[in-house]
C-alpha cells in the first residue's frame, strides 16, 4: 500500500467510525462537504482549486492532500496548481512554505502512480 492508498484508507476507516455514531450535525456537515464541490455556476475544477487554496492558507495537510488528489483526477495541470500554490503562499506568507513542500511531494506521488 503506497502513501496515497494509506492516506485514503485511514480517511475512510475513521469517516466510517464517525458516521457510525449517528450524530446528526456531523453527518449533515459531511454531506454538505461533498455537495460543496459539485459543478454549479462554477465548474467543479475551479471549486476544487478554491478548496485547495483555502486548505493551504489554513495549513491543513490532510485537506491539501484530499483536494490535490481531486485536482489531479480532474486534469488540473502542474502549472495551474503552482499558480494556485502561489496565491496561497502570497496571501498566507512563508508560514505556508512547509505545507507547500509536502503538497509538492504528495503531487509527485499522485502523478507517478498515474503514469
Amino acid at each position: 500500500m503506497d502513501a496515497v492508498e494509506e492516506f485514503n484508507a485511514y480517511r475512510e476507516k475513521m469517516n466510517n467510525a464517525i458516521m457510525a455514531e449517528n450524530n446528526l450535525v456531523i453527518k449533515r456537515l459531511f454531506n454538505l462537504d461533498t455537495n460543496t464541490y459539485k459543478a454549479g455556476a462554477l465548474p467543479s475544477q475551479t471549486k476544487e482549486l478554491l478548496g485547495l487554496v483555502a486548505s493551504m492558507v489554513l495549513r491543513c495537510d490532510d485537506c491539501i492532500k484530499y483536494h490535490l488528489e481531486k485536482c489531479v483526477e480532474q486534469g488540473t495541470t502542474k502549472a495551474e496548481l503552482f499558480e494556485a500554490f502561489s496565491v496561497a503562499n502570497i496571501v498566507g506568507g512563508t508560514i505556508v512554505i512547509p505545507h507547500l513542500r509536502r503538497a509538492v511531494e504528495y503531487w509527485q506521488l499522485l502523478t507517478q502512480r498515474n503514469d
Copy 2:
C-alpha cells in the same frame, strides 16, 4: 464619497505612506502581490476568486473587499460569487459567517454604484 471610495482612498493613502519608507522587503512584497493575480496558466478571474476565498477563510474584511471589487470588475456573477462564498464557509465554518454578511453588503454597494 461613498464607502467604496472611502475604502480605496484610505488604502491608497496608507500604501503611499508605507512605500515612502523604502523598506525593500515590504516594497517587493507589495510588488509580488500585484503580480500574483495576473493571468497565467490560470485566468485572472480564477485567481481573484482564489484570493477571495483565501481572504474569507483567514477572515480579513479588507482583503475580502479588495478581491470582491476585482471580481465584480471582471464580470464574476452573483451566483459564482456565492459558490465561492459557500466553499469558504464550509471549509472555514460558521466563524466565517459575519465576514460573509459584510461581504454581501459590500457586494451590494459595488453593484449598485455600477448601475
Copy 3:
C-alpha cells in the same frame, strides 16, 4: 435602538439577503448552525458556552456577541461566564484579551437592558 438591537437588526437584514440568493450549501449550513446548539446529550446551556469559547479563541467579536446573548437568556451567571472566558484566555493567550474587553462591555449592555 441600542447597540444590542442594532447588532441583531444588521444580523437579520444581512442573513435575509444571504438566504434570498438560494445557495443550497449556505442555506443548509445556516440551518445546521441552529441545530448545533439544541439540547441533546449535552444541555443547550453547555453548548452555548462551547460556542462562546470557540468564538473567543477564534477571535470573532460578532460570534461572541451572539453566543453571549444566548448565554444570558439561558441564565448563565457572570461567574460562570468569567470561568468560560478564563479557559478561552488561557488556551488562546493574551491575543484574546481585546476580545474579552469587548465581550465584558457587551455583557454589561445585555444585562443592563434586562434590569
Copy 4:
C-alpha cells in the same frame, strides 16, 4: 508502551525539561493552566469540554488528546463528546475534520484500555 502512554511520557519528559530552565513566566503559565480547569462556578467536566472544543477549533492534536483523556476520566460519554465535536466542527468548519478523525481514533484507544 501503548500510544496513550507514549504521548503522556513524551509530554512529561519535555515538561520537565521546560520546568528545569526556571523561566518564571513559562512556569507560572504552566501553573495557571492546571488551575484553569479546576471546579469553580462551572464543574470541571464542563471546563474540560470547553478546553477540548477550544483545542479542536484551534486544531492542536496534542491539546485535543490531553483534554480527551481528562474527559474520559471524568466519565463524559461518547454521545456528549460527539456533541462537543459537532460544535467544534460547525464553528471551525471542515478544516477541523482531520482532527476529528484523530480525536475519534484516540478516544477508541483511551476507552479500549479502560475496558
Copy 5:
C-alpha cells in the same frame, strides 16, 4: 481626547471591569502579561518587538497598538519598526497588510503627539 488617549482610556476602563470580577486565572494572566516584557536575558526593547511581531502575524489591531506605543516610548526607530513589520508581513503574508496600514497610521499618531 485624541485616538491614542481614547484607545488607552477604553483599555483601562474595561481592564478595571475585568479585574473587578476577581477571577483568579484571568487576574494572574494579566499579571503575567506585564511581567513577560520586563528586561531579563533579552532587553525590554527586543521583547516589545517580539510582542509586536506576534501581534501582527496573529492580526490583532489592539495588541499592535499597545506594543507600538511601548516601542515608540522606548525609542525604537521608524527603520527598526519597519524591519519588524517586514518580518511579520513575510511570515504572515499579504493578509497582514491591512494591519500594517493601520499600524503605520497609529505610529504617525503616536509620533506626531510626541513632537
Copy 6:
C-alpha cells in the same frame, strides 16, 4: 543522518523541486524570505528571534526548527531563547505549549551536536 540533517535534507530536496517549476511568484517569495533576516536597522540575531516568535504563535513546527537553528548558529543563549518562548506562549496561549515541547527537544538536538 540525525534528525537535524534529515530535516535540512528534506527541506533542501523539496525546495529544489519547487524552484525547478519556475513559478515566478514563488521563486521571488523564497528570495525575499532570505533577504528578510539580513542585518539592517535591526541585527540579524533580533530578526531571527522575531521569525522564531512569529513561527511559534502561528504554530509551524518546521518554521520553528529553521529559525531555532539560525538562532543557535548566531550564538543566542538558552536563557534568551526561553524569554522569546515566553513571549510566544503568553501571546499565543497554552495552545503553543506542544510546539514549545518540540522546540526544546530540537534545541537539545542542535546543541548536543555542536558539542
